[in-house]
Amino acid sequence: MMKKILILILTYCICMQTSTANEDIIEGVRLARDNTDFAVVISYTRLETEKIEISENYYEQKTIYYADIIEKIRGNFSNKTSLSFYAWSESGDSVGLPIQDKLIFLCKDQDNLFYFAGPGSSFIADPRYVYIAKQEKRELTGETTVQFCN
């Protein structure tokens, strides 16, 4: 009996933790959706990195990711079945290629190239998150406006 109670308490605690974490992620998906114009589910294929001189003898790291498109969610990707986008990071920071399919949010620069919308713009391609990404954007207010692309 005691053992069952302990298992129930443990299960409840785990569920509560999962629930809390998911709420943070769900709100993150909403914010990324509300503040970007492009959303897509992808499967990463490869990446390239290069160092770009930003200031005299100061470099930052530009990584170009290549991926197959699994599902187009928002924005015009025309007839593409694959895409590439770039992301900036500190020089020397490690970069990796995610194994799982991802729901990502992108921006476009003045040269019409996609770039990663930054921290809080990449999520596991969980159907719940994809569903939220497909929903209409909320009307942006002071609370929900975030500088994702600028």
Partner: protein, 260 residues
Amino acid sequence: MILTYNGYAMVQSTGHSFECEEISLPTHFIHSSNTFDLYKLSDSLYRLEPKAKTSPILEHLYIFNKYEYQGMRGISGSQKLFQKLNTSKKITLKFDMNYPWVGTAISQLGIKEFPGIKANPEVMKYHKAAKYGTNNDSADGDAWCGSFIAWVMSENGFTPPKIAVRASEWKKFGKMINKPIFGAIGFKFRSGGGHVGFVIGQSYDGNDLYILGGNQGNQVRISKYPKNIWAAFIIPEKVNTTLSTLPFYSGHSSKRGSEA
């Protein structure tokens, strides 16, 4: 509490006072132009107080050894008193500390993200403070510099901005100031993110800043950056910056973004 990092003694703040015992790592220090009054409390206990009531200096990085005080460039008046300290075993430093969060940040030096899918719980606590839902410490290229600032500021009673994991969100925190000062949050812009860290010093020529931040080479560390790449400096709203300065830094750092 005394922390050591790469051969430097660092004394963590405990509220508004600092206590040093048996400091024995004399090689480097961060100096200020402040002067100090020294009070002998007993044969083995001294109190050192800055004359400026609001001292922004890296007091907790001053380093003493058992025999003499090293450096103290620009100090007048009190320097002789320091020389009398050569037998002291314990020094109590008491300051009107304006930027206690820097001590918190210093306590995290050396925390690294784990490679691959493993997550360092120390980095995950930063993400938790930023209310950023993730199961990985640096998942999918997500930087954690903003989360690090969120944890440090939360530990010091400040509420981070809504999406603290994003560096640019920190521009909404506190007030913008027009020049870097000790303890300010520096913001560096780039498309799709940016970088944030605490300003803790400058180079002697004034062309570089020393930034204590998270996710600098995949870890918390002090790095040297060109001054001209920083777009904004932010400080909590209620902090009085009237007497704030930026000390020269001569301690250990990595040089960020250099091909050298």
